[in-house]
C-alpha cells in the first residue's frame, strides 16, 4: 500500500469537492477497499472517509411511507433497525449475510452497492424492492434505479465527482413480500455462487400483479430476471408456476464458469433458488400449501 492523502469531510458538498480529483476513493467501512489497497489492486492518491458525514449515516422515514438509508449506514444498524425488519425484511436478512459480525459492524450499504461486485448480497433485495440510488455530484443530484448503476464487475455509472448519498426504498403496496436466498458451499464467510431475491405483490384475488426478481453472481452485474417476472404477472401462485418462473430465470442469467461453480451449475441454482424464494414470499401472504 502506498501513502495517500486522508480526508474526513463533514458534509456532502465538502465530500463532493474532495472526490472531484484523480484517484480519489471514498472509504466507508473499508471492508472491500482496504483489502484492495493492501493487495495493490487499487491505487489511491486520496482516501475520503464518509463516516463522519451525519447526512450519510442516518435512516429516516420518507413522507410517503418509504425509507431513506444513508449510504454509510452499517449492515449491523440496518439488520437491527425495527423499521427495516418490519417493512423490508429481505434487506435486513441480506445485510446480515455480509461476512461476520465484525465485518457487518463496519460494512456500509453504499459500499456494498458501489463496490459493484456481481455477488453483493444486499443488492438483489434492493432491486426487488425497486430501490433508488440517490447520487450527488458537482453538477447536482440524480436518482437512478439501483440496477441502472452497474456497468460491469467493479464498475458503476458514477462520475469522478459523484457519490452515492443514500438509497430510497419506496413504500410498498399491500400484499407484498420479498425473500432473498443465496447458495454458498460454506454456511457463512463465503461468496454467493448464486443468489436470488424474489418480490411479489398480490391483488385481492391472489393474482400476482407485480413481480421483481433479481439475481446475484450470475452475470457481470447483478441482473433483473425479466423473463421470469413476465411468467408470473396475472397468474395465481402455484408450484407449477414457480417451476416455470425458475426455468425462465435460469435463461435470464448469464453466468460464467469459475472456481466457485460452472455456468450450468449456476443456472441450476438460479432455477432452484427462484422457485424457493417465490414459494417463501407467497407463504408470507397466503395461508396453507401452494396448489
Amino acid at each position: 500500500m502506498d501513502l495517500f492523502n486522508f480526508q474526513t469531510p463533514r458534509s456532502i458538498p465538502e465530500l463532493i469537492a474532495a472526490k472531484n480529483s484523480a484517484n480519489a476513493w471514498l472509504l466507508a467501512g473499508g471492508t472491500d477497499l482496504i483489502p484492495q489497497l493492501k493487495e495493490d489492486r487499487r491505487k489511491a492518491e486520496t482516501i475520503i472517509d464518509v463516516k463522519k458525514i451525519a447526512a450519510m449515516t442516518n435512516i429516516s422515514a420518507e413522507q410517503d411511507g418509504g425509507l431513506n438509508i444513508g449510504a454509510a449506514v452499517t449492515a449491523t444498524t440496518i439488520a437491527q433497525s425495527e423499521i427495516v425488519c418490519a417493512s423490508y425484511p429481505a434487506l435486513a436478512y441480506s445485510v446480515a449475510l455480509i461476512g461476520s459480525r465484525q465485518v457487518q459492524n463496519r460494512a456500509s450499504l453504499g459500499g456494498n452497492v458501489c463496490n459493484a461486485a456481481p455477488s453483493a448480497d444486499a443488492v438483489p433485495a434492493l432491486m426487488s424492492y425497486g430501490a433508488l440510488a440517490n447520487i450527488e455530484g458537482t453538477k447536482g443530484k440524480r436518482s437512478l434505479m439501483v440496477e441502472e448503476i452497474f456497468t460491469g464487475p467493479g464498475r458503476t455509472v458514477l462520475e469522478q465527482d459523484e457519490v452515492l448519498a443514500s438509497i430510497t426504498l419506496p413504500a410498498l403496496p399491500e400484499n407484498t413480500a420479498a425473500v432473498y436466498q443465496r447458495f454458498t458451499p460454506r454456511r457463512e464467510m463465503d461468496i454467493a455462487v448464486a443468489g436470488v431475491s424474489s418480490r411479489i405483490t398480490l391483488d385481492a384475488n391472489s393474482k400476482i400483479v407485480d413481480a421483481k426478481i433479481a439475481l446475484a453472481s450470475v452475470g457481470p452485474t447483478p441482473l433483473r430476471a425479466k423473463a421470469a417476472e413476465m411468467t408470473l404477472i396475472g397468474e395465481v401462485p402455484s408450484l407449477k408456476l414457480f417451476e416455470a418462473a425458475g426455468a425462465a430465470a435460469a435463461s435470464d442469467a448469464s453466468p460464467i464458469d469459475d472456481t466457485r461453480g460452472s455456468a450450468d451449475y449456476r443456472r441450476h441454482l438460479v432455477s432452484v433458488l427462484c422457485r424457493r424464494t417465490l414459494a417463501s414470499a407467497t407463504k408470507e401472504l397466503i395461508q396453507g400449501d401452494l396448489p
Binding site: M1, D2, L3, F4, N5, F6, T8, L27, G30, T31, I34, P35, L37, K38, I47, D49, K51, T76, G99, S100, R101, Q102, V103, N105, R106, R187, E188, M189
Partner: protein, 155 residues
C-alpha cells in the same frame, strides 16, 4: 503525516501516523500492545479483533486514521488490575483455549456478542463467532466459555 487522538484502553493517546498504517499495526508497533494478533491479515480469522466505540471490528482491515476521536479497547484493556474480566475468567475456567493464538480475538468478539444477552444460546454463539477461527479447540469449549462468560457478565 496526519496526527490522531483516541482513547486507548481508557487512556488518551495521540500522535502522528502514516495514512497507510493499519489499526492493528498501530496497536502492536506504535503502542506496543501485542495481545492483538495478526493471523490472516485478510479479514478472515478474527485474531485481530478489537472494539472501536464498543463494537467488535477486525483491526487488520481498518486504518489507524479511521479511529481518530474514537474509543478503542484491546484485550489488554479488559482486566481490572490483577482481576480478569468475567469473559477472560470464563475462558480460563472452561478451558476455552489451547495454544491461545485466537483467544484475544475470541474474547473481544465474545464480549461484544453477549452484551445485553446473558442467556445467549449455543446457536447464537456459533453464528456470532463465525468470523473467528480457531485451529486447536474444535470450538466446543469456546462455546461453553462464552456461555459462562455471558452469565457472569449478567448481560
Amino acid at each position: 503525516m496526519p496526527s490522531i487522538s483516541l482513547t486507548l484502553n481508557g487512556r488518551s493517546v495521540s500522535g502522528e501516523v502514516e495514512t497507510k498504517t493499519l489499526l492493528v499495526d498501530y496497536i502492536r508497533e506504535n503502542q506496543k500492545l501485542t495481545g492483538t494478533h495478526v493471523g490472516c491479515d485478510t479479514s478472515q480469522c478474527g485474531s485481530c479483533v478489537v472494539h472501536v466505540d464498543g463494537k467488535s471490528v477486525k483491526s487488520c482491515t481498518m486504518l489507524a486514521v479511521q479511529v481518530d476521536g474514537s474509543e478503542v479497547t484491546t484485550i489488554e484493556g479488559l482486566a481490572t488490575g490483577e482481576e480478569l474480566h468475567p469473559m477472560q475468567e470464563a475462558f480460563r475456567q472452561n478451558h476455552g483455549l489451547q495454544c491461545g493464538f485466537c483467544t484475544p480475538g475470541m474474547v473481544m468478539s465474545a464480549v461484544d456478542l453477549v452484551a445485553g444477552n446473558p442467556d445467549i444460546s449455543e446457536t447464537e454463539i456459533r453464528e456470532g463467532l463465525e468470523g473467528n477461527i480457531c485451529r486447536c479447540t474444535g470450538y466446543h469449549n469456546i462455546v461453553k466459555s462464552v456461555q459462562a462468560g455471558a452469565k457472569a457478565m449478567g448481560g
